[in-house]
Amino acid sequence: MPTPGTATTSTGTTGTATATATATAGTATAAAAERRRTAPRTRRFTSRPGVAVAALTALLPLAAACSSTANGAADQAAAGPPKAGGTLTLAVPYGPTCLDPHQGQADALFSRAVLDSLVWQDEKGAIHPWLAKSWKISDDQRTYTFVLRPGVTFSDGTPFDAAAVKANLDHVVAPATKSAGAAQLIENYRSATVVDDHTVEVTLAAPASSFLSGLASPGLGIESPATLTDDPKALCSKIVGTGPFTSAAGFTPQQGITYQRREGYAWAPEGAANQGPAHLDGLTVRVVPENSSRLGALTSGQADAASAIAPVNVAKLKADPGFAVQSAVAPGVPFSYNPNTEKGALSDVRLRKALRAGIDWPLIVEKLYFGVYPAAQGPLSPTTPGYSKSVADQYKYDPAASAALLDEAGWTARDAENYRTKDGKRLTLDFLYVGDYFGPHVALATQIQAAAKQLGIELRNQNLDAGSYVKRVLAGDYDLLNSSNNNFSPDGLRLIFGSAHIPTTKIDNNAARYHDAGVDAKLAEALAAGDPQKQNSLYAEVQQKVTDDAAILPLFNNAYVLGRSAKVHGVVFEQQSFPNFADAWLSQ
């Protein structure tokens, strides 16, 4: 099934780890009076082919341009107080790989309506109480003691308590769960101990500054322990949680899922606009693979909102007073080309820099996506905590510098087709992709190929079947791959540039095969650091180093683009830039 915008060598880790938790050892965070679910920034996005399958990357369908659409707050002010009632219909391009986020690639959109998490993370990365009302972190950063909110129940009547938390954490890491993303978020989790009904003590194998952020991610949504003992497969179509909505019938492939309001819901995250039950009676999510059908359903009023509006349609939809476009730039590592730094022509850093400077990447992105996806300038998206702006000026178009670098590297001669040669060999680079996953971006690859030709570089775009692709990736038999990684934490850098993640025996995220002992050490140190400032300076150094080494050629930042009718209000984006409907309402 379809899957996703782009594929790559690897999968998006959908989780996030973040490091800027404000919880310092020994104290519970006081709630910041932050609005809870983050207001969207304004941008847009692309869609992926209608494949509903586990994609290489947990790519968001993106869409969008800078939108003037208001964030939830401004919109609320204009529309007056929220009205209760009504059912919101949302059209999406593909369904979840598995409704249970412990197993699937956290498809937050589908599980978040039903599942709450222990903590909530705002758009700045600060952690706030949710199902856990406070927590303490031991001095050695290995023991987290959570005090749970009393009076919370799962929709099947099971009380939420310390045993439920333990059951959930154990379920995420159990081998039988075959977790695709959630287990990575809490990879240092070792065990949990029930102290009393409302106190649970969690022990880590090693300090992990990203642990609370992992707990806040939709992937760590808390499910009813009564359901966790069944066959894990059953959870892929039905889940039970404490959230603002329930879904009795569950998800049907190629059709969708219908949610009902959970009456009596009273434990929204601290600072949420709506502390009580959801305003909507129901939420219907329909799988509509075709871009034109989704847009038509929205404009004809058959759907109230549609995600993954194609970039080409965004401007027109925004110009229509009956509709609005909301978008959020995804955090994590941008949609990028990853040069093979281990072998082949691009193991020479001068060639990587020549490629980075010699192609006008932002222009290509602008031409193809109409400004809906912002051009990327650095190894992290600006919406990621710990993003370092200082590297941006090294991602500039400079054809003269590029030509000088190529000459310096010895690629001075030209052959009959005007490609550069060295020792009689043409400068040829192989870019590998899997058509099923990369589909919507083929035009992009073609543009990049044409730009490379201007530099005298022959770029061969090779569309492979998944089997051949995997073989060549594991063998390191490529010059360029494509990847992106939606991750609300600078710890995502570890998955992309850490030498432990080079794909040799199995597919993994370090497509550049980047191996730098200093970077490995800094990433490990940042993960173990309790002090957010220290973490941020370490992550900034890593971003500088991989930029100096030109270990990544970023193209654009993914964005989640949601088209909606003007009568829809209060939709906000959360941690991984998925829309959240807990505060949404409909005006008639």
Binding site: T11, V51, V53, C98, E290, S293, S300, G467, D508
Partner: protein
């Protein structure tokens, strides 16, 4: 007669076994480790891979996997889909009804379009026949996905007469059935018209007319049955083209169905699901072809033997 039925049944079982075996081999012989496909090309831990290998028995010899798989099928156990995390029977069951509805509606629309068009157009003067045959040409030439998109744009998004989001019920079937029926209706109309034209030149038709039988009665009672014979031979091809077309139409109209499910399953090398769909499609095919064979006897008395 009983012997004939037994032979036919035996043949069908062989066909199904062959189809399932080919599907099994095709998926196993294409390049790529099934484990990579099962992890969806995601970064995966060794533990996850080991668990997948264990669960699906991928570490056993191919011959053993094949025998295990056959014995499960004989016990009616189609296993679990790798990707949907559902038993194959459930996955197919969820989608089958929707596809059967679409196919039934398409057959109705096809007949409603093709038969009157052929009856009206056969042996008429050029001013009647030319538009009919132009439409036939168009129907064959227009791709289903384009027609579907067009129908959606006009009748659902603009005029709002019909729902677009794979709605259940009759009104949700109209547009997809039209889009899917266009090509078969055009082909059948043409074949039927030719058959009718030939029949209308036969001496017995002239005889009927001299007896004073009206034109409508001649065409309906005498012409149509003769004209249907060549159409019956097309039914096998028609079944195939409908199943193929359903894939596209289901996707355009966001309908649930086996077509989309099949594409997904093949793309993901979701072996159990592919086998399940092959079995269902094979079953439909054999049933249709058997029915066609039997229908010849109903249409053409010359084929009825005196065995019974």
């Amino acid at each position: 007669m009983i012997g004939a039925v037994a032979r036919r049944l035996g043949g069908s079982v062989l066909v199904l076994w062959g189809a399932v075996t080919v599907a099994f081999l095709a998926l196993h012989l294409t390049s790529g480790d099934p484990v990579d496909l099962l992890t969806g090309l995601r970064a995966s831990s060794d533990g996850l891979r080991a668990e997948i290998v264990r669960e699906y028995g991928l570490d056993r010899p191919l011959a053993l996997q094949y025998l295990t798989f056959l014995s499960h099928i004989l016990q009616g156990d189609l296993g679990d889909s790798y990707v949907l995390h559902l038993p194959v029977r459930t996955a197919i069951g969820q989608q089958l009804g929707s596809t059967l509805q679409l196919l039934a509606a398409t057959v109705v629309v096809t007949v409603v379009i093709a038969v009157p068009a052929a009856l009206l157009g056969a042996g008429r003067r050029p001013w009647v026949r030319t538009p009919v045959s132009l439409l036939e040409g168009l129907g064959v030439a227009v791709p289903a996905f384009w027609l579907g998109t067009l129908l959606l744009g006009v009748f659902s998004f603009k005029l709002r007469w019909f729902p677009a989001l794979g709605a259940p019920g009759i009104d949700g079937l109209v547009l997809p059935a039209l889009a899917l029926a266009a090509a078969p209706a055009a082909v059948i109309a043409r074949v039927l018209r030719r058959g009718l034209e030939q029949t209308l030149d036969e001496p017995f038709v002239t005889t009927a007319r001299t007896r004073g039988v009206g034109e409508a009665a001649v065409r309906l009672r005498h012409g149509l049955r003769h004209g249907l014979l060549p159409v019956a031979t097309l039914v096998g091809w028609l079944t195939g083209s409908l199943i193929g077309g359903a894939v596209v139409v289901e996707s355009v109209f966001s309908r649930q169905g086996l077509g989309t499910l099949a594409v997904t399953a093949v793309r993901n090398k979701d072996l159990p699901l592919v086998i399940g769909i092959v079995l269902v499609a094979g079953l439909v095919y054999t049933v249709v072809n058997t029915a066609v064979d039997l229908s010849y006897r109903l249409i053409d008395p010359r084929l009825r033997t005196r065995e019974a």
